[in-house]
């Protein structure tokens, strides 16, 4: 698409945005892939509509405020990136645009406080733990609170798991086949500490020595995707130095963090650390990809056959184009029947803090996802991302038909340990 964006005026960020807009041919192939278009059916809430809106704002034909409601509704799921024949890097566009527009934006004091609250707690496990404990106290008065504050409480578990600190190094069992660094993630350490412990056990069992570098922090994706570029850069700089050692790979077990790290070259575009960012990003792998490439050690057969649905996290399937590897891991568990979820490419509505900021659409998508999962008749659903985990669990519960939700590596861990996969009935 042609544009008249003054790239020089906008600098390195302008180049990224203009490049993406140029690649769009407005063909509309993205429409069926867009969750908000599926729910709302309006051109403004479609990827090509949003691209058009961003173009108009960047060209100076439209005020930022006019376009904002529709751009805010974008989940950033990048379903459109998978569907786009023309190769529009939509994820790069929306992330960069948000970073560009946020500092110029007017928000109400309440909104500002809410956003700051999220940005100042979620990325810090100890703060998040304290906030979650506080939030639990708020649960009984939830109906009295403004809707914006109800959503986070809805997603909080009734009981927080005990804090289980991570070691700095996990040695390989038997012959060492690789040495990797591991990003622990933030929210998942508080909400589901077992994700990490299960991952570390599976890696060790597969002969992988895992270093959990001290001084690492949040990957910065949360800040980056909500337009808090300076904050994201701060986090990312911390990680650039924390992960500077020699490793065969840098692993994550959270889709959002993996894609966050892989976006460092975008974040540092035009910054002095650009080269370092590229080096780090090139080493980042989702744990499922790493294990498949390494060659998974044989898994003992399950006690009884098990029907499992795998949920594609958008930040794995769309942002990192990782679909086959988690499925291959699951299929390597003898006795496990893997089923596909209808509309599997559609976002579950979690999308970072989206379900906290746009609860209505997130709820519509969450319910749709839960119904699609139940339609498979699976006994268990597995995913590779903490956000999806929380969202799916919460919506299955709402429908009153809760089936267990596990991280892919948790299931693998239980299969290795030959411990029961499902609670006894």
């Amino acid at each position: 698409m042609q544009h008249k964006i003054d790239v020089e005026k906008l600098g390195p960020q302008g180049e990224i945005m203009a490049h993406a807009i140029e690649a769009c041919v407005h063909c509309g192939f993205c429409l069926p892939a867009c969750p908000t278009y599926q729910v709302l059916g309006e051109e403004m809430d479609s990827p090509r509509g949003r691209i058009f809106l961003m173009k108009e704002v960047l060209e100076g034909n439209l005020s930022m405020e006019e376009a904002q409601p529709y751009l805010d509704k974008c989940l950033g799921c990048q379903g459109c990136v998978t569907a786009c024949p023309s190769g529009v890097p939509y994820g790069e566009l929306i992330t960069t645009y948000r970073g560009w527009s946020e500092p110029q934006r007017h928000r109400s004091p309440f909104q500002k406080l809410f956003r700051m609250g999220l940005q100042e707690t979620l990325p810090y496990p100890s703060r998040f733990r304290a906030a979650a404990a506080l939030g639990r106290l708020g649960k009984p008065i939830k109906p009295l609170l403004p809707p914006l504050l109800q959503a986070p409480l809805e997603l909080l578990p009734d009981q927080l798991p005990k804090h289980q600190p991570l070691p700095e190094l996990v040695p390989a069992e038997g012959e060492r086949r690789a040495r990797v660094a591991f990003l622990a993630g933030c929210a998942q350490q508080v909400l589901q500490p077992n994700f990490n412990h299960a991952t570390l056990r599976v890696l060790a069992r597969n002969g992988v020595e895992v270093v959990i570098p001290k001084g690492q922090g949040c990957c910065g994706a949360l800040a980056m995707h909500t337009g808090e570029r300076a904050r994201a850069l701060h986090f990312a700089r911390t990680n650039l130095s924390a992960f500077a050692g020699e490793y065969d790979a840098i692993l994550t077990n959270a889709a959002g963090c993996g894609s966050g790290l892989k976006e460092y070259p975008l974040l540092f575009h035009g910054e002095p650390e650009q080269a370092q960012a590229h080096q780090l990003a090139a080493k980042v792998k989702d744990v499922s990809v790493f294990l498949v490439e390494l060659g998974l050690k044989a898994v003992p057969p399950l006690e009884r056959p098990l029907k499992v649905a795998y949920h594609d996290a958008c930040h794995l399937a769309h942002a990192q184009q990782v679909r086959a590897e988690p499925r291959r891991l699951l299929r390597s568990i003898p006795g496990l029947e893997l089923v596909e979820i209808p509309e599997g490419e559609l976002c579950c509505g979690s999308a970072g803090t989206y379900n906290l900021e746009q609860p209505e659409i997130a709820t519509a998508l969450g319910e749709r996802k839960a119904r699609n999962i139940l339609a498979t008749g699976a006994e268990l659903v597995v995913t590779g991302n903490i956000g999806c985990f929380t969202q799916i669990q919460s919506h299955l519960r709402r429908l009153g038909r809760e089936i267990p939700v596990l991280h892919t590596l948790e299931l693998l861990d239980r299969a290795y340990a030959q411990s029961p996969i499902l609670p006894n009935r």
Binding site: E43, E66, A67, V88
Partner: protein
């Protein structure tokens, strides 16, 4: 604004869009060279609401355009400056599916591919398969008599529509056609299908479903020249076979499709031919042996046969993504849609190559070879001064070439905005006058999709970016 207040009686605020941020994304369809900003967009949810919108337009003499997913490549669903845009995306329900009668009744915003998906459990499908089928709506398919790769064997949309409930430009409702293939009286539905929205808006459409072919035999043949591929098409037809589809892609199109979907095409080929047989297993098996022989003798240097459903889909995925994928090779392009007699394919392609060199613009070719429907994609960069004009001129030459070879200026994309200037190349003044008389008989004020298909009329809003100059100056406002 009084006019919009009145419209607001029929449409709640969420379905009556008029703010600049709401209107901007509706300014173009899939032909972004044209832009126009409507006065407002309404999103009706029922037949009655469409009637209300059309009556409001008739009352105030405001032209309107009905639109589905906005995938028109000829600017057919381009809004009219200051007119009403009627977005039918919310009228997207399957009203009835009758496997016994093999019909589906849908609202106009229902997506083409969804018809086949809904019919699949009954072993049925909807045959017309434009490349935009995962996106484009049945209403739009009807308006433009959409084709697709498999129309060689099964015909266009018009061969698969049985009835339509239509809101005429004066707001009256008529039902054209019926549930049976045989109808009494003139073929009013035939007149309506392909009329590009000039005669009214369909709100309920009855489609024919066909039994799904039992077996497919999909062959991918690579050639070192376009002519050889073109000749192979002629050879297949001369052999008496009627494949479901015969498609050709040239090297630029192959490059784009590979980049987009990694279809696994032989990258160094100058031309690829896809031939697909389909039907009952014994028949397909017998024909396949015959076809393989014809292809072998046609000079293909590599021949692959899809061994599984996945391989077949992969071959088609590349072909169907090819148009949009060309966006990877060039910031802008024009897709043309000319038709030539099958026997003159080779000649047409050689001539296009010559024109491409003369204009200094790359042309990618992806086309329905079986029915001679060419889709040259003219690559240009709109930021280079004069390139768009040169591309348009080249496109015009290609269309004239098609007419001169005994073909047509459009196969399936329609005339829309893009090709209306070429109508006189194809039709005499008397032909055009007759068409206009029909239009005026139904729409004397020319409200329905005004400015499309007929030459002349309102000047296209080419490259008009953003708000009206008077709006920008603060003289007028739409709020």
């Amino acid at each position: 604004m009084m006019l919009l207040d009145e419209l607001g009686q029929f449409f709640p605020p969420g379905r009556l869009l008029h703010r600049p941020g709401e209107l901007a994304p509706y300014e173009s369809d899939a032909l972004t060279a044209f832009r126009a900003r409507p006065l407002a967009v309404v999103l009706p949810e029922s037949h009655e609401e469409v009637v209300a919108a059309v009556r409001w337009c008739a009352r105030h003499r405001i032209p309107y355009v009905a639109r589905g997913s906005g995938t028109s490549l000829s600017g057919g669903s381009l809004p009219i400056d200051g007119g009403l845009l009627i977005g039918l995306n919310r009228m997207n329900k399957l009203l009835r599916l009758d496997p016994q009668e093999r019909i589906a009744v849908v609202e106009p915003g229902f997506i083409n591919l969804q018809v086949s998906n809904a019919a699949a459990p009954h072993g049925l499908y909807y045959a017309p398969d434009p490349s935009s089928q995962p996106v484009s709506t049945i209403g739009g398919n009807l308006a433009f008599n959409s084709g697709g790769a498999h129309c060689l064997k099964y015909g266009m949309t018009s061969n698969h529509v049985l009835a339509a409930r239509v809101v005429l430009p004066d707001g009256e409702t008529v039902v054209l056609g019926g549930e049976s293939l045989e109808n009494t009286g003139p073929d009013w539905l035939g007149l309506f299908v392909g009329s590009e929205g000039l005669l009214g808006i369909a709100t309920e459409i009855t489609l024919r479903l066909l039994p799904k072919p039992e077996t497919y035999h999909t062959v991918l043949a690579a050639y070192d020249s376009l002519e050889k591929a073109g000749d192979a098409v002629a050879a297949v037809v001369a052999s008496g076979l009627l494949p479901g589809a015969m498609e050709i892609m040239d090297s630029l199109a192959i490059e784009a499709a590979e980049a987009a979907v990694k279809a696994g095409y032989p990258r160094e080929a100058r031309a690829l031919l896809i031939v697909e047989l389909e039907g009952e297993t014994p028949q397909v098996e017998a024909e396949a042996r015959y076809l393989d022989e014809v292809i072998r003798r046609s000079g293909a240097y590599e021949v692959r046969v899809a061994q599984s459903a996945e391989e077949r889909l992969k071959i088609w995925k590349g072909r169907k993504a090819a148009f949009s994928a060309v966006g990877r090779l060039s910031p802008d392009y024009i897709v043309q849609d000319g038709v030539v007699p099958r026997s003159r394919l080779g000649q047409a392609l050689a001539e296009i190559e010559r024109l491409s060199a003369r204009y200094g613009l790359r042309v990618a070719n992806v086309f329905h070879a079986g029915d001679g429907n060419l889709h040259p994609l003219i690559l240009y960069n709109g930021r280079v001064a004069g390139e768009f004009e040169r591309a348009e001129e080249l496109a015009g030459e290609i269309l004239r070439l098609c007419v001169a070879l005994g073909g047509s200026i459009t196969g399936e994309h329609g005339v829309g905005m893009e090709k209306k200037a070429y109508m006189p190349e194809m039709f005499s003044e008397a032909d055009l006058a007759a068409m206009r008389r029909i239009r005026l008989a139904l729409d004397p004020l020319e409200l329905s999709n005004r400015g499309k298909m007929f030459p002349g009329g309102e000047a296209p809003a080419l490259h008009q970016a953003g708000p009206h100059p008077l709006e920008r100056a603060g003289v007028i406002s739409r709020e």
